[in-house]
Symmetry: C2
DNA sequence: ATTTGGCACTCACCCTGCCCGAGTGCCAGC
DNA sequence: GCTGGCACTCGGGCAGGGTGAGTGCCAAAT
């Protein structure tokens, strides 16, 4: 167990390093923080901290920098979440109010988060399966060609064109539309499969049954994990703020960000409730091994319908970033609840 | 007027510089290209080319690099469009076939273009005003709350929630929906304003008239330039391929790419038909002054419904890039026509 | 047992001077 | 008008020395 003072030293190291981006030495530490002990004592503490793996020195005769383990301890035990300033809160409101549709909400959120944290922002669209059905629309584009439009309570609209095995009459179509809606509107998407299972059998014409099956198949297919997850990224220009070695780091990070699959997995691994901070190598993906990801779920009601977060250098202002991420997530939740 | 050989020298300089990314000298030129003259002669030609502003030297005692003006001449008169190889063509087909909806088409196109050109790809969604109306849907979310859904022949779906001044009956709604559709389906969006102008008056109830006016106002509003233009960007990781000074250049470029307004203006300035190449400072935007933009319109029929292109360093393989951009645009046009 | 001051040591960093070579401009000759 | 020769320029790479921040260790003080 580390003594109280040693933890204090670690906190000071993290804070200074985050601020200056340079290895911090014993002398500078005692000058900038009132630790009440001499540099020599701090040196001893540092030796212990290094022994335990919380800090490291880039090379002999340099100051120390925190390791991933050091940041982890800092986040877990030494730092809280810094609440936003009033101007910042006001900025959130100003920025997010007045969004006209879901794309707009997500777009504004990404820009806002990137600006507040000066890092890369990632916002996931509300998940289909966790949303509620607001309406299902079926349109005949051609006799044997339908368009299925799904609308959720979070404002998300998903569409898919369906080629039918046989022409489908206007009355049958209206019939199917009505039955579909009466069964699923107001229900959660996750429950849809059971609710519509027996629909085909209730149609008399054999051909209609086939068509109904096809329509349902497409409907269910668009609920499949693969297609349902979308996200938006912004603030990549902030990657240039990464540190002096950013030219080396930026490439793999940009590549990882372009692979939406990677990001989705990343967000998926985060806790369902509460804020998640993944530091450096805790991120499974290779290219993100020198970044930290701060993410949190957001939702219109009590339950999270999706996640948002930021990606930044491990050397980031954790309390401030966590504060911004949490505040934005809360307000986005409100916005969605209102629409 | 430059002699034939001087043009040949310029072409050789551009090709070598694009390949090696290093200033090219007279000796290396004569070795790599069969110009049939000695280095000394080439030096004289280079002096003239520099005089005329087509090439420049980074510093004394270095080779020459093309200027924007030099690239311009190269593109206009010295190089053609390189057709794609058969494997590349096949890759386009494989990649784009099997897209399930418009988002998917655009997403795949961006990735494909980025991969093919190894540069940043930009694809604009089909413009609303230039598309044709396929269907207009009106849903009652609540008594005084409607959702308007627009569907175009290019597969684009746009939705907007409308708060009505007064409740709107189900029959009135069906009535309005039918009338709207009968008037506008199959027509170009650009013509919609005139086609629906007199709709409110045809309703008897005064309250209904007000509601219809509101609905129409929203409908028209969503056709306004500001909202209608969307685009998707990909391949930003390729920015790291920019050159040895990429750390300096990447920041402003990333910032410009995040400002969709900037990009839309950029694409907007391109020619309506045919390929447009904007080189270096020809791009109005500051941050893009060391990039070139190759763009072309694409569309399902004869007319372009939107544009796509790539952003890369001025030092790019113009013939190859132009070939890829053109080929992708053509095939995307086909895909859209089929859906 | 912990803290402290002192001290020798270690490197990264910076500055300097140096050489090398690619590339140039110019000129005289073909 | 082309060519070969020649002197010149200047960026880049390499070696060497000085500087200073920072360390580890030890013996003395608390």
């Amino acid at each position: 167990m580390l003594s109280e003072r040693r933890l204090e030293v670690l906190r000071a190291i993290v804070q200074d390093y985050v601020g200056t981006e340079e290895p911090v030495g014993s002398k500078a530490l005692t000058e900038r923080h009132k630790l009440g002990v001499s540099p020599a004592t701090v040196r001893n503490d540092m030796a212990v901290l290094e022994e335990e793996g919380y800090i490291a020195q880039p090379h002999t005769s340099a100051g120390r920098i925190p390791t991933d383990k050091g940041y982890r301890l800092f986040v877990d035990r030494l730092a809280g979440v810094k609440p936003l300033s009033t101007p910042e809160r006001r900025a959130i409101h100003n920025f997010l109010d007045g969004a006209v549709d879901l794309d707009d909400v997500v777009g504004r959120t990404v820009r806002l988060l990137a600006q507040l944290t000066r890092q890369v922002a990632v916002v996931q669209y509300p998940s289909l399966t966790r949303s509620t059905v607001r309406h299902v629309e079926l349109l005949a584009l051609a006799p044997a060609r339908l368009m299925l439009v799904l609308i959720t309570d979070t404002g998300r609209v998903e569409q898919r064109v369906i080629d039918c095995p046989a022409p489908f009459g206007e009355t049958s179509l209206a019939d199917l539309r009505a039955r579909l809606n009466s069964r699923v509107v107001g229900r959660r998407f996750a429950d849809v499969p059971q609710l519509v299972q027996d629909l085909p059998e209730s149609f008399e014409e054999l051909e209609d049954r086939a068509t109904v099956s096809t329509v349902l198949a497409t409907l269910l297919e668009s609920l499949v994990e693969e297609h349902e997850e979308r996200l938006m990224i912004g603030g990549t220009a902030n990657l240039t703020r990464f540190g002096h070695d950013f030219p080396l780091m930026i490439r793999p990070v940009l590549e990882a960000l372009e692979e939406q699959v990677v990001l989705l997995k990343l967000l998926g691994e985060a806790k369902e409730s509460g804020m998640t901070v993944r530091i450096g190598h805790e991120n499974a993906h290779e290219g993100l091994s020198s970044t930290s990801v701060v993410s949190v779920g957001y939702g219109s009601g009590g339950e999270a319908v999706a996640k948002l977060g930021v990606v930044g250098p491990t050397r980031m202002d954790y309390p401030g970033t966590m504060g911004a991420v949490r505040a934005v997530a809360r307000y986005v939740g409100q916005i969605l609840a209102e629409s």
